[in-house]
Symmetry: C2
Subunit: 453 residues, 2 copies
C-alpha cells in the first residue's frame, strides 16, 4: 500500500518538495497530490518587477514548470483548489474548488505546508481601489500592466524595501515619473542608514523623488474611482497608479487553526529537517516558516525564493527516504535599482547591537576591476565585526556592475565563522578584468582588521 503525500501550495517549496520526493520514490511507493488555490505553479514572484518593467517580455517566462509538466511527472496537481482546513487528528485536509465551491476531504500520510506569504496591505481609505497594486502574484503583475496601459504618467510606490525599490525601477523603465514613499529614513532599511543613503542619492540621480520618513495615509481617488493622489504624513503626491511594496508576512492562518507551532516572527517553527516542530509527518518551508540566523542565533521569517527552493529540496529528500537538513541563513540579499547594485549579508549595526555584540565597522570605496581596466566601476563596502574576537558579523555593498554578488564571499565567510584577519587572507580570484589586486571585500577587511581583535 503506497503512502500519500499532500502538498499545500504549488510554488517553490511545495513543488520542489513534490518533485524531489518523486525523484526518489516512484508512484507505486508514493502518491502525491498538491493543492494550489491560484492559477500558476512554480513561478518566480521575484521576477515580477522585471516583467512589469519590460525586461522580461512574457508572463510565461516566469513559470519554471507548468501544472501539465508537474502532472506528467506523476504529481496530481489540483489548481484553483484551496485547502480550508488541516485536520491533524484524522490526517486529512479539507479542500474547496474556487470554481464551483465543491468541498472534499483528502487523507494524507505526509503533509507539506507551503502556504507562502501574504502582502501587507494597509486598511486605509483608497488602498483597495483599482489602480492600487500589490506585486505578489502573476495575476497582480497582469493587473498592474493593465493599469499601465491606461493614461498613466505618475506612479507613487509605497515602501522602501526590495520590492519598493525594484518597482520604482520598473515604473521608471515604463516612462513614468516616480515618487517613492517610505517610512524609514533611507531606502533599503535592511542596510545601515549610511549605506541606504547611497541608494537614495542614486535613485534621486535617476529622477526618482524619494520621500523618507513618511507614512501613507490615504489614496485619494478621482471621479473614475482610480488614484489621483497619495496623501502622506509628508504631503500629497499625485499618482495615476499606486504600487505597494510594504513587505509580506507568513501566511499561516491554516497552520494556526490546526494548532501548528508558530515562532515570534510569525512563521512556522521547524526542525533542521524542515519537519514542523513536534509534529510527525508534517513538513513546512518557504515564506511561511521561520529560519535560524546563523550569525545572530535568532529566528526570523525571510520571504526569498532561494530559501524556499532549498526547503523544498530538503523536505522532498527526507520524505523520499534520504536525509537532508537546512542549517539556516546568514541573511544574504541582493537587489538593484537600474544600474545600482545593492547587497547585504549578516548583521547590520542595529542587528549586531540587538544580538548583544560589541562591534566595530569600516567603510571603504574600491572598484570592480583593476582601476586601469575599462569598465572599472565604483563600489562602497561596509564591514562589521565583533570588537574583541574580530569575528565577521556582516557586510553591505552598494555600487555599480560587479558589486552585488561580491557579497557571496562574505556570506560564505560568515557561515564558516571567520574573523576579519582570515578574510584578509582569502585567496580570491584576481585578474585585472575581474578585480583590483586587493578585492574590495578584502580592502574592507584590511581596514577593519586594524580596529578589532
Amino acid at each position: 500500500m503506497s503512502e500519500h503525500l499532500v502538498v499545500i501550495g504549488a510554488d517553490a517549496t511545495g513543488m520542489s518538495a513534490a518533485s524531489q520526493a518523486r525523484r526518489r520514490r516512484g508512484p507505486e511507493q508514493l502518491r502525491i497530490t498538491a493543492f494550489e488555490r491560484g492559477g500558476f505553479s512554480s513561478y518566480s514572484a521575484c521576477g515580477i518587477p522585471y516583467w512589469v518593467g519590460g525586461e522580461v517580455a512574457e508572463r510565461d517566462a516566469l513559470v519554471a514548470r507548468t501544472p501539465e509538466e508537474h502532472r506528467s511527472r506523476g504529481i496530481d496537481l489540483r489548481m484553483g483548489t484551496e485547502v480550508t482546513e488541516i485536520d491533524l487528528d484524522r490526517g486529512r485536509v479539507r479542500t474547496r474548488e474556487l470554481d464551483g465551491g465543491a468541498e472534499a476531504w483528502t487523507g494524507f500520510d505526509q503533509l507539506v505546508v507551503a502556504t507562502g506569504a501574504e502582502p501587507i496591505r494597509p486598511s486605509l481609505p483608497g488602498f483597495d481601489a483599482p489602480g492600487v497594486h500589490g506585486v505578489q502574484t502573476l495575476d497582480d503583475g497582469a493587473e498592474l500592466l493593465a493599469t499601465l496601459e491606461r493614461d498613466c504618467h505618475r506612479a507613487v510606490v509605497v515602501g522602501g524595501g526590495y520590492i519598493g525599490v525594484e518597482m520604482a525601477e520598473a515604473m521608471v523603465r515604463r516612462g513614468l515619473q516616480v515618487t517613492l514613499v517610505l517610512r524609514s529614513a533611507e531606502p533599503m532599511p535592511t542596510l545601515d542608514p549610511d549605506m541606504g543613503k547611497l541608494v537614495r542619492v542614486a535613485m534621486e540621480g535617476m529622477g526618482i523623488e524619494v520621500v523618507p520618513g513618511a507614512e501613507a495615509l490615504e489614496v485619494l481617488l478621482g471621479p473614475d474611482g482610480r488614484p489621483r493622489e497619495v496623501a502622506t504624513t509628508a504631503g500629497q503626491y499625485p499618482a495615476d497608479v499606486v504600487v505597494l511594496g510594504l513587505g509580506v508576512r507568513p501566511r499561516t492562518g491554516l497552520a494556526r487553526q490546526a494548532g501548528l507551532p508558530l515562532g515570534a516572527s510569525g512563521g512556522l517553527r521547524t526542525t533542521p529537517e524542515m519537519r514542523v516542530s513536534g509534529v510527525d509527518g508534517v513538513w513546512a518551508g518557504g515564506d511561511c516558516v521561520e529560519v535560524l540566523n546563523l550569525v545572530s542565533g535568532g529566528y526570523q521569517n525571510i520571504a526569498l525564493g532561494t530559501h524556499a527552493n532549498k526547503h523544498g529540496l530538503v523536505i522532498g529528500t527526507n520524505i523520499g527516504g534520504g536525509r537532508a537538513t537546512f542549517p539556516g541563513v546568514v541573511g544574504t540579499a541582493v537587489s538593484k535599482v537600474c544600474s545600482l547594485e545593492i547587497a547585504r549579508t549578516g548583521l547590520g549595526e542595529r542587528e549586531a547591537t540587538a544580538a548583544g555584540a560589541a562591534w566595530e565597522s569600516a567603510v571603504i570605496e574600491s572598484t570592480s576591476r583593476a582601476g586601469y581596466y575599462p569598465g572599472a566601476a565604483l563600489m562602497t563596502v561596509k564591514m562589521i565585526a565583533e570588537r574583541d574576537s574580530g569575528r565577521l558579523l556582516g557586510v553591505q555593498i552598494v555600487g555599480r556592475e560587479g558589486a552585488a554578488k561580491r557579497v557571496d564571499v562574505a556570506a560564505v565567510a560568515l557561515t564558516a565563522g571567520m574573523t576579519v584577519d582570515q578574510v584578509v587572507s582569502l585567496d580570491l580570484g584576481y585578474a585585472p578584468p575581474f578585480s583590483p589586486v586587493w578585492d574590495p571585500v578584502l580592502v574592507a577587511a584590511r581596514k577593519l582588521a586594524g580596529r578589532v581583535g
Copy 2:
C-alpha cells in the same frame, strides 16, 4: 639608533612591505632602502596583456606608484641598481648601478627578498631574435608594441597557460591572425582537460588556430633577422611576431648563492610570517617563494600579484612591530580570453589524485542570471570532492559574463574546509538579475552531493 630595512625588488611584495613598515614606523625609527634593477616600481605585470591588446591606453596606467611617490613617503628607492650578492654573515648586500657599474656594499638589519620570477625562455634557435617577445616587464610590453607597429599580420603565441591565452586575445584585438602552440592537450593546463576543451572550442570560434600537443622547435627567421615561421613538432606556422607565454620560475639566484633555503618548487621557504625559514631578519614573498596549498597540504610556487601584495603587507606589518601571517592559498586563478571567462580553485582531478584523495566530480551547465532575465549567460561548473567525506576539493568554471568571480565562493568554502552538503546550503545572493534561484555553484554541489559521502 634606527634600524635599516633593505628591500631587493621594487614591485608588489617589496614596495608593499616597505610602505606598510613605513606606515607603522617613522623614518626616525626605521630607515628603508629599496633596490630595483629595472626602471619601474609597483607596476601591474598582470595588466601587460591588456595594454598590448589596447584596452589600457597608457603604460603609466599600470604603474600603481612611481619611484617619486615612494620617495616622498620616506623610502630611499634606488632604481637601475642591481643587488649582486647577499652577505648574510655581515648583514650587507652588494649593489651595482646598471648605468655606470658603480659597486657598493649596504648594511641591513632587516632584509626583504622580493626578486620575483623570471620568464622561461627556451634555448632553441631563433628564440632570442628581435620580434620574439616575453611579456614579463613593462619594457617587454613596450618592445612588443614596437614590433606590432611594423607590418605584422600573423602572430604565433607559444604556451597555453594564462599568459598565452591572454596574449592570444591581445593579438586578436590588434587585428592579427593568431596561432596558439601549446604542449598540453588543451589550453589552460591548470584546468582539467574536459574544461580546457571548452576554452579551446571557444578560442577556435574566435578564429584563433589552436595547436595542442606541440613543442616549439625553432623560430625561423627572414632575411631581416625577424620571425618568418615557427617550427613545431606539429608543423610550421607563419609568424611575423612570436609571443612567449611559457610561464615563469622563481628568480632565486641571489638567494641560492647566499644559502637561503629553497623548496622543491624552486621557491624560497618561509614561515607563515613570511620570514625566510631559519634565518632571522630576512623576509621573502611574492613570485620568488613557495606557499602552502591549504587543500593539498603541499607547497607550490605561484606567480600572482594578489599573493605578492598580501606577502608584502604581512612582511611590512611584522617588520613594523605588528603580527601578521599568510596562512596559504587554495589555488584560485581567474582569466579570460575575449568574452570567455575562466576560473579555477583548489585541486583538479590530477592534483586530487596526486594528493592521495579518492574523489568524485560533477559537471553542470547553468546561467549567470535567472534564465528569463536578459543577459543570462551560460557557464559550465565542475566540482570535485573527496568521495567518503564529501569535503570540497576544487571547482572550475568556464563561461561568459559572471562566470569567473563565482569561483570565489568555492575559494572561501575550500579555506573553511566545507563539504559539498555545506556548500548546497550556502546562503548566496539571489535576485533574477544576478543569479538563478539556485546559483550555478550550488547546482554543481547538488549534483555532486548525490555522489559522495
